[in-house]
């Protein structure tokens, strides 16, 4: 291996690692706020990529129908609850949020898709179709059992993962998609050729991480999420409801997932079930941070990206094996260096 190849592999590793880092941050966030290990994170990646791919072909993405369907299910749940509690004043908001808005988005996508709008508009539309699924999934699958044990929540996650993969097959079909790159630019930096797309990925990931940091440090909702992660009872006592915090963290996770999908769609071919492996690599990174530390999770995910790039060069058949084997020494190291904390301890 010469320096040129080594540099190329590092660039490749950082590009993928940036995506894994985003996903790792989302996993840590969701776990800290809701104690959910968010296995379906990867499905949002696939949904984001495939929705954008449909829009680029001028087709109505299946996610638009899915959004309306899930919206109707949430509306049914919310309406029965509102009627049971005698809270009739909530009904208009429920109908607007879960029926009117998804229907409007479906209409918009129907109208806009065949016209092939500019790439930024397509990306925006793709995000609007995928991201609302995040809080809706929380409402449907997790909120009714929000105070269950981590294990029960994990089992729900497995179920949601399979459901979303299956729905992905129904709505997107079995063919893979790859979108054209955001930019065809290439720069020569000494021996290294830098592609515009990998700069896009790294730049957008960095921007998103900075935006998240500012959100958590300086906005009232960011502080509310941190407060919920630190002390659930305290958060309720100041009026932060766990349901609101859960929906908000799932919205952020869905946004991160869908955006990651949009960013990697031009780099790899994405199938309806590709998200799982991508998400799992973010998960390995998150585990390095013990599912609690944001910087360690991001650093771990970058390491996963670089390891993967080198593994695919030296032993491409064993690429995934090498990456996932990494989790064993990491778990060993973590179990030797950290104290076990009882789950019930508040």
């Amino acid at each position: 291996m010469n320096a040129e190849i080594a540099l190329f592999l590092i660039q490749d590793g950082f590009t993928n690692g940036a995506i894994y880092a985003l996903l790792a941050l989302a996993l840590v966030l969701v776990f800290a706020v809701t104690r959910v290990i968010f296995i379906p994170q990867g499905e949002f990646v696939a949904y984001g990529a495939l929705t954008l791919a449909s829009l680029q072909l001028g087709k109505l993405p299946g996610t638009a129908w899915l959004l309306l369907g899930v919206g109707l299910a949430v509306a049914a749940l919310e309406l029965t609850q509102a009627l049971r509690l005698g809270a009739a004043q909530r009904i208009p908001a429920i109908i607007f949020n879960y029926i009117v808005l998804p229907a409007a988005l479906l209409g918009l996508a129907w109208w806009a898709a065949p016209q092939k709008p500019a790439l930024t508009l397509q990306i925006l539309l793709a995000l609007f179709l995928v991201v609302p699924l995040g809080p809706m999934v929380y409402r449907l699958a997790y909120q009714p059992l929000a105070s269950a044990s981590v294990l029960v929540l994990l089992i729900i996650s497995v179920a949601v993962h399979f459901a979303m993969t299956g729905l992905g097959l129904v709505f997107f079909g079995a063919e893979g998609s790859r979108t054209p790159p955001f930019s065809d630019a290439q720069w020569k930096l000494g021996v290294l050729t830098v592609s515009g797309q990998s700069l896009w990925v790294m730049g957008a990931s960095l921007a998103l991480i900075v935006a998240l940091l500012l959100f958590f440090e300086h906005t009232i909702y960011g502080k509310a999420l941190r407060a919920t992660a630190i002390n659930r009872v305290g958060a309720r006592l100041v009026g932060v409801s766990p349901a609101m915090a859960g929906k908000l963290s799932f919205t952020l996770a869905a946004l991160i997932g869908a955006l990651s999908g949009v960013l990697i769609a031009p780099i790899t071919t994405i199938y309806y079930d590709s998200g799982f492996l991508v998400g799992l690599k973010g998960f390995v990174g998150a585990i390095m941070g013990g599912l609690v530390s944001y910087p360690l999770a991001a650093a771990g995910a970058l390491l996963v990206g670089i390891l993967e790039a080198y593994a695919s060069f030296w032993a491409s058949a064993y690429k995934e094996v090498i990456v996932f084997t990494l989790i064993i020494p990491v778990l060993l190291w973590r179990s030797l260096t950290t104290h076990h904390i009882e789950e019930d301890e508040e």
Partner: protein
């Protein structure tokens, strides 16, 4: 005059074990009402149920509405606020962020008067102002109690419920805290105070209830309670024999 808080037939259970049984109590607007009782009587349970943190049977009337089935977060935004026995601060956040979160429901309503309340709270607790960039988890016990109280005040409560605000504090700080509590009444806040320190509680309160093993066994104006033979024997101890 109708009361701000009107509780009737309140029963709270942990599983099959009932911790509060058929409790009835009232808090008039602008008054301090205290609930005293021995360890394990159900005082903390009572406040948690009033706040909506525990499911309860019976009826809780607040500001003319039945809030028995209203969720805790909704009660906060209607002006109910609890400073719990365990304080429940956000240890890994700064003192100032704790106060900001106290006003969470007001930020949601785009209340413009929050900044003025910061100034007021810092004036009331200058120690917190000095330490506003410090993490709440690094505060001393007394400072933590001040922060818990200050965080509650940032929510602009109409009815403030305090669970043993003097717990584990040095006498001098206890005096400060009770001075703040008495001062709050003058600003129109109604207070429901749970205390082990029955002497201090009855001194500051207008009305009192005695809770024993989950049932209210005695009630009356706090002056009457303080001179009641049973209360003196069980809660004020020998010290009360000395004429002050």
């Amino acid at each position: 005059m109708s009361a701000l808080l009107e509780v009737r037939g309140l029963c709270v259970a942990y599983g099959k074990v009932e911790a509060v049984h058929q409790a009835a109590l009232r808090v008039e607007e602008g008054r301090i009402v205290t609930v005293i009782g021995p360890n394990g009587a159900g005082k903390t349970t009572l406040l948690a149920a009033l706040m909506g943190m525990l499911p309860a049977r019976g009826s809780i009337g607040y500001a003319g509405e039945d809030i028995t089935r209203v969720e805790a977060e909704q009660r906060v935004s209607r002006g109910l606020c609890l400073v719990p026995e365990r304080r429940e601060l956000f240890a890994a956040m700064t003192v100032e962020d704790n106060l900001v979160l106290g006003a969470f429901h007001r930020y949601r309503k785009r209340d413009k008067t929050i900044a003025a309340d910061f100034a007021q709270v810092y004036q009331l607790f200058p120690r917190l102002k000095e330490r506003r960039r410090q993490l709440a988890g690094t505060l001393s016990g007394g400072e933590r109690q001040m922060l818990a109280l200050a965080r509650a005040l940032m929510s602009r409560p109409r009815l403030l419920m305090l669970d043993e605000p003097s717990l584990g504090l040095a006498p001098l700080i206890v005096r400060d805290i009770f001075r703040v509590i008495a001062g709050l009444r003058d600003t129109g806040v109604s207070i429901l105070l749970v205390e082990q320190n029955a002497r201090a509680a009855l001194q500051v309160a207008d009305y009192g209830y005695v809770l024993e093993t989950g049932e209210i066994v005695l009630e009356g104006p706090s002056g009457d309670l303080a001179s009641d033979a049973r209360v003196i024997e069980s809660y004020l101890g020998l010290v009360s024999g000395n004429p002050d």
